[in-house]
Symmetry: C2
Subunit: 675 residues, 2 copies
């Protein structure tokens, strides 16, 4: 979940002031139609919307400003035309004006508003950072809360509050409300592990006031002892000690970055960025040495949603069923990467812009890093069976990694896209940051009577059970847009006719998913190969070309299907879904997720049971982690990671790195001593 | 599966000659009681056994010479005594003498034979390299085979043969026989993809002659075109190109290796090596900064067996159900690592000795490498919610990797043990090398009628379906030998009493496995945390200290339980097993696996259903890959990898790397130009 960012807020205010005083060039500056909006483009959008809607009575609150993706046809034309074509740039905006969510499409080049649609359905757009900042100040001046602090003997000046999305639990009417929880930062920056429990505080973001307050019970605030994680605040002994290790690339990096377009080894792709999706990988193509051309694999890939349901049904936690992308924004929550820490020294960093609630863009430095990393072995073989010949061949593997970190409040998500020259793409997610802690008077397991809904991770501190379900949007375009989805089941065959000394073996049975229903897959129920193929193209021996999904151990949502959070997060009902491409179906939890009712989710769309044979299809893949907290996760959690692999499967005629030579040896002997 | 090694054979012969002419020092030279046998110790064993059993009629064939592990009590004493104690060194030998398998225990220090037991049960010991070498020469002088070649128009001088273990398919009597398959090396070193199909050839290793031969049918031998993998034989264009990347460690490596004992960051462990098991990790302990002591995690870990059943029941392939450790030996099949290719330039290499069939040790250079590698992030957090404070903390992660490569014939297994300062151990396996190919007259999928038992990966070449099931032996000693195994199930609870706005949540239910039956786990059937705990020790808040298994996506054997290969490989019936420690239970497929009948497997031992509560217990974990071959696997396969994590779970009071500082920055600017 997300929290306030007063620093960013201050920066926005200054930038906003500057904007209204300065003369701004509105010339778009970009190189690729999928580039994120530039500073100038944000400002154009801001001006156009302001000019049309802003009055002293009606303030415009920009909750989302993003690129309105060009059609796939247009991108195809852009890629294949030799002469430069006019780059269309449109923006899609969700702004709250006079209490209504407006969906505004803007033609940036023509500086016109193309359309404006008022959202009539359920749910609200992503929270802005500014309202998150403002709402967390409310308790500090709210007398009942101050009284509660006094009752507990807590110091108001050491209180930090954070907003928590509330979900939907069957209420008929929904308002833009958040729960506000407060914490003690006394003697630690790690306030998340020092919650002030027993309070229910609801704030209305529209009114920007506290609309509900209960002081239910008093639990002790966990101590600050052993919670600090800042290096500068630690006392010796330090350890364990690590020796420095850095990569040395005498030929320089193997990649070339032109704006947002990356070329590396046999791969080319585009890195986009969106305030909601965060990083977006587009147009990933791999050069085929035999076919002498670059071949498309992935039109677009990004994390569409992250559902984090906590498993405590009590008043303190029941609502904590977060949708981190749809409620807080993966892009909005992307943090600046720390050079030499979050990314190795030889990394290339990419900055981006994110917009404030008034539409002003501000620079996010080091939002993305790109670097090469020694992998393992690419392929190898030692052959000793040929008389008078000893053969040993092994190729060094260097991989390319594109990394962002999304910190939604307490949790830090390290999100990598790894590319391999052998054709694999390995997206990985890793969790770090801080657990959501519930305070308890209990100091030892022996005192527990009844259900804690979590584990005691420190005295007075319960790490509440929860899950992390990431859903990846993977628009494969395997050598063209028209693809199909094949499920190849591995099936035991029993031999009863005495034809073999064996009694059994397994074989494969391939089914092409005809419709969306056929493609709803629960991984792990039976062994199967899941492959996106281009059924219009075959290899020389007649295999369909494709890419397969090699998943991590799957995690399935354990909530009942009729539970409200599960209705909203119904995209976790399966691990894999396939839909026909539809440009409006981007967000697996819906376009408006805050207080959503689950009427615009992947689970609902797929009820149409559309045809997915030889169509432009999108695979959706849920990667999940059930999290039973342990003491090692406290006070800050070492990375817990998982990944999956998208691996070429008869995409190439043969091993595509057969003719790769290992790069030259680099042995570091130190520098020669100068005289 | 394994094949001949004439090169090694030649080396052995020379060494053997030298041995009989030279005066050899028999003083044992070792530093740790778990060190692999030294050259001198091998020679002592050889001499003692030779002296007692060798006659001109009775030749001694050493099929296994290894360290006879000291008792755990002895090791404990060794570790804790301040004054040096006498290092007992014993060897366990399996030698075939006069057609019988003798199990001989030798006290190396006292130079005496302690015991000699003749194996009466089923099964034979591992094949020696020498007999593998000899048997593959037989066809070349066997007239019926020469006639078959002539019939096919194949050139005898281009033929390479390889021995294949035959398993057991219900025969009443078993002899030490192997199937011999032959291949064409004409125009390629990649003979494995050019099988001469349609022949059944059985050789008796005792008689060293062909005892069965059928020329069943003629299939075309697949062409050599596009099969070569040697860099020196490739023709342009080469690619994709990679830039050099090497690690630079200005402070030198962070590890210290003393003989076979490794210290690195907070870890200490011992690296052993055995001709059957290959690499063995022992005595892995981690330093606890708070408790000011090193704490034991793993007493011993190694791969106990690798079961590779092919899924083709026809005469050509039905018997191919290999047990690579028990039949061929993981240590015997370990290959020399190629510096700068298999391991990065800053690696430390460890050599070892393997013995020949006459007992002579020969040096295997670079059997093991140890290196540090940049990982990802150790832990991080960016905090923007505290007014006037901006906090970003991130720790660089450097991991330690111990690697070996085991090449059993066509397949190369890259076997890593990764250690993390945060307490995790991540064993990983990766496959490379060459597919087992079945020849077919079919050149295109359109020609297929009926079952191929695999996929066409090139014209005339079927990559047969198969599995790779590795079983790890993991003798945890979590802070002491007495441990228990806990299974914590995640269970949905439905709320029906209106006590919450939620309708459901999940909670945990922990069961301690009382006996071996309770600990037979099929991973993936229901979500669960699998933890080895020390129930005698608790953290300050009362959690049992432990380590949990985070598995990869599991693979289950799809053979029927009554099928002969499955009876022999019954350790794949579950993904996790737990047994009470028993020093004779080392090999999940049995001590004698060649032609075994499954009467000495993990599945049989656990039928005793022994008590495993608060005992010295061993966890066995099966890691599996179902392999549906693809064209990318041909002619040589890019690494396909999987791994699991052993992660501290309330083992520490809190994050054990909280007080780790990132190592100093190293930014490579090149060397200063000398004048």
């Amino acid at each position: 979940m997300a929290s306030t960012t007063p620093m960013k807020l201050a920066l926005f205010s200054i930038l906003t002031l500057l904007y209204f005083q300065a003369v701004i060039s509105l010339t778009p500056l970009h190189e690729h139609p999928l580039d994120p909006l530039t500073k100038e483009e944000f400002l154009t959008v801001q001006t156009l919307v302001h000019n049309k809607y802003h009055t002293s009575k009606n303030k415009v609150a920009f909750h989302y400003i993003g690129l309105d993706d060009p059609d796939k046809d247009y991108i195809s034309k852009y890629e294949h035309e030799k002469v430069p074509i006019v780059i269309h740039r449109k923006s899609f905006v969700i702004a709250i004006i006079n209490g209504q969510s407006h969906e505004i499409v803007i033609d940036i080049r023509l500086k016109t508003i193309v359309s404006d649609n008022v959202h009539k359905g359920y749910g609200f757009p992503m929270l802005s950072l500014e309202e998150q900042g403002l709402v967390t100040k409310l308790p500090l001046k709210y007398p009942p809360f101050i009284a509660s602090l006094k009752k507990r003997g807590l110091n108001l000046s050491e209180v930090v509050c954070a907003p928590f999305s509330m979900g939907w639990f069957g209420e008929e009417e929904s308002k833009r409300t958040v729960r506000v929880d407060c914490f003690m930062k006394e003697n630690t920056v790690n306030f998340f592990v020092r919650p002030i429990s027993g309070l229910t505080m609801v704030a209305d973001l529209g009114l920007m006031k506290i609309v509900e307050y209960h002081d239910r019970e008093v639990e002790v605030v966990p101590t600050a002892e052993n919670t600090e994680y800042k290096a500068s605040k630690q006392r010796p002994p330090f350890g364990p000690k690590q020796h420095s290790l850095a990569s040395h690339q005498p030929q320089g990096p193997g990649f070339l970055i032109n704006g947002h377009s990356v070329s590396w080894a046999n791969w080319k792709f585009h890195i986009g960025f969106d305030v909601r999706a965060g990083i977006i990988i587009s147009l990933a193509s791999i050069y085929d040495l035999e076919k002498h051309k670059s071949r498309r694999v992935l039109y677009k890939g990004y994390i569409s949603e992250l559902f984090v349901p906590y498993q405590d049904p009590t008043e303190e936690f029941y609502f904590k069923t977060f949708f981190d992308a749809g409620e807080y924004g993966f892009g909005r929550s992307t943090v600046s990467l720390i050079p030499n820490r979050d990314c190795p020294p030889h990394s290339h960093f990419i900055d981006t812009y994110i917009h404030s609630v008034d539409g002003t863009p501000s620079l996010l430095k080091n939002a993305i890093c790109v670097f090469e990393q020694y992998g393992s072995i690419m392929w190898r073989h030692t052959e000793t069976s040929i008389p008078n010949e000893f053969i040993e061949e092994s190729r060094t593997e260097v991989n390319l990694i594109v990394r962002t970190v999304v910190t939604v409040g307490n949790y830090d998500n390290v999100l990598d896209w790894e590319f391999k020259t052998s054709g694999s793409i390995k997206p990985s997610i890793a969790l770090s940051g801080i657990l959501e802690i519930k305070a308890t008077n209990i100091k030892h397991n022996d005192e527990i009577k009844g259900e804690l809904y979590g584990k005691l991770v420190s005295a007075n501190s319960i790490g509440i059970y929860h899950d992390h379900f990431y859903i990846y949007y993977l628009d494969f375009d395997i050598d063209g847009a028209e693809n199909s989805f094949e499920k190849t089941n591995l099936k035991t065959v029993r031999i009863t006719d005495g034809s073999s000394k064996r009694k059994s073996y397994w074989t494969t049975e391939t089914q092409t998913a005809k419709t969306e229903s056929d493609a709803k897959i629960t991984i792990g129920s039976a062994p199967a190969e899941l492959v996106v193929i281009n059924s219009n193209k075959k290899t020389a021996v007649g295999n369909h070309i494709g890419y397969r999904l090699i998943p991590a151990i799957p995690a399935h949502s354990l909530l009942t299907e009729d539970d409200y959070p599960q209705i909203r997060g119904a995209f976790t009902n399966y691990n894999v879904w396939v839909t026909p491409y539809n440009r409006t179906e981007k967000w697996a939890g819906g376009l408006y997720v805050d207080h959503s009712r689950g009427d615009d989710t992947l689970a609902v769309w797929t009820k149409q049971n559309r045809d997915i044979v030889n169509k432009d299809i999108v695979m959706w893949h849920v990667v999940g982690i059930h999290h039973v907290p342990t003491q090692e996760d406290f006070p800050i959690m070492p990375l817990l990671s998982t990944s999956f692999e998208l691996r070429p499967t008869n995409f190439f005629e043969r091993n595509p790195v057969l003719k790769t030579l290992s790069p030259g040896d680099v042995v570091w002997h130190g520098c020669p001593k100068s005289n």
